[in-house]
C-alpha cells in the first residue's frame, strides 16, 4: 500500500534566497510562527563536493508527532513503542547545486516507520533564462506507506496468525487499517504543507526586508530574551 501526493508551487523570490529560507525555516518561532512543533534541529553533516561544487547537508529534526492521536490510540503499544513517546525524529537530506540552479531535499521519519513511513521529496529550481527572474518553482512529492500488516505478520510468524488472535485487528483487517492510516496521514500532511509554505513566505519576506544579518540579529535577540525568561 502506497499513497503519493504531488503539488507544485512558485515562490516570488529568487532561487538563492529560497534555498537560504529552507535552511532557516526552523530557525526560531519568532521568525517562523508555523514552526512551533519543531523541538530541535541538528546538523549531522555538511560538505561541499569538490568535484561538482554541490553542498550536501544532513540534519535531524525532532518534531511533535504528526501521527494523528486517533491512530496512536488504536495501535498496540508493542508497535508504537508506547504512545508516551509522541515526538518523531525526522531525517532531512539536501543537495544544493548553485551552478545548475537546483536544490533537492528529502525528509523522512525515523521512528514509527513500522506504522507509517512518510517521505517528502522537494525539488526547487531556478527558472530558465527566458522566464522572468526572481521566481522559484518547487515540486513536492510525498509518499505514504504503511507496513502495519507486514509488521504484525512478521511478529506472529505466520500469515494467518492475526486471525487467530481474534482481536480488533482481525476484524478490521490489516489492509483496511493500512489504508486508513495512509489516508488520515495524507489529509493531515496536505494541511501541514500549506502551513510550511506560509512559514517559508514569512522567512522570505523577512530576508527581503532585512537580509541575512537582520535575521541573525533577530534570532540572537530572541535567544537572549529566552534566557532572561528562564
Amino acid at each position: 500500500m502506497v499513497l503519493t501526493h504531488t503539488t507544485n508551487h512558485t515562490y516570488s523570490h529568487p532561487f538563492p534566497t529560497v534555498t537560504l529560507a529552507f535552511f532557516l525555516r526552523y530557525c526560531s518561532p519568532q521568525l517562523n510562527p508555523f514552526a512551533n512543533h519543531v523541538l530541535s534541529t541538528d546538523t549531522i553533516s555538511s560538505q561541499v563536493d569538490p568535484a561538482t561544487g554541490r553542498l550536501h547537508t544532513t540534519r535531524i529534526h525532532l518534531k511533535k508527532s504528526r501521527m494523528p492521536p486517533s491512530i496512536m490510540k488504536l495501535l498496540p503499544t508493542s508497535i508504537t513503542g508506547g504512545a508516551a513517546d509522541k515526538a518523531s525524529y525526522i531525517l532531512e537530506t539536501s543537495v544544493v547545486d548553485m551552478r545548475e540552479g537546483w536544490m533537492s531535499t528529502e525528509s523522512r521519519n525515523l521512528n514509527f516507520v513500522g506504522v507509517l513511513s512518510v517521505v517528502e521529496r522537494q525539488l526547487y529550481t531556478a527558472p530558465r533564462v527566458a522566464e522572468p527572474a526572481g521566481k522559484t518553482d518547487v515540486e513536492t512529492k510525498v509518499v505514504f506507506r504503511s507496513r502495519l500488516g507486514e509488521r504484525i505478520r512478521d511478529k506472529l510468524g505466520q500469515p494467518h496468525a492475526a486471525h487467530q488472535e481474534g482481536g480488533w485487528f482481525a476484524r478490521l483487517g490489516a489492509r483496511g487499517i493500512q489504508r486508513s492510516i495512509e489516508s488520515l496521514a495524507s489529509t493531515k500532511t496536505q494541511d501541514q504543507l500549506g502551513k510550511s509554505r506560509e512559514g517559508m513566505k514569512i522567512i522570505l519576506e523577512r530576508l527581503r526586508q532585512t537580509g541575512i544579518m537582520g535575521v541573525l540579529e533577530l534570532r540572537k535577540r530572541a535567544r537572549e530574551r529566552g534566557m532572561e525568561a528562564m
Partner: protein, 85 residues
C-alpha cells in the same frame, strides 16, 4: 536555529549555525566559496563531538542505519531523477 537535541550542545550549535548561515549566504550563494569549505569546520567538529553521545543515547544512530538500509530498497524507483544521486 532552534535548540539542539542535547541541551549541552546548544552553545556550540549556535556558533556553528551562525558560521554556516554567514558562509552560505555570503560565499556559497555568491559562488565565491572555495571548494573546501573550511571556515566552519573546526566549529562543526566540536559540535559534532558534543552531539555524538546524545545520538547514541537516544538510539538515533541505530535509526539512521535502519533508514539507510531502507533507502537502498526504495530508492531504485527514484533513480531516474537527476537530483537523486
Amino acid at each position: 536555529m532552534s535548540q539542539s537535541l542535547a541541551t549541552q550542545c546548544n552553545e556550540v550549535k549556535e556558533r556553528y549555525d551562525t558560521c554556516f548561515l554567514k558562509w552560505y549566504s555570503e560565499k556559497y550563494l555568491r559562488g565565491t566559496s572555495t571548494a573546501d569549505n573550511n571556515e566552519c569546520s573546526s566549529l562543526f567538529k566540536e559540535y559534532s563531538q558534543c552531539l555524538q553521545g546524545a545520538l547514541k543515547d537516544r538510539g538515533i544512530d541505530k535509526l539512521l542505519e535502519d533508514a539507510r538500509e531502507d533507502n537502498k530498497e526504495n530508492d531504485a524507483a527514484f533513480m531516474g531523477r537527476k537530483n537523486c544521486k
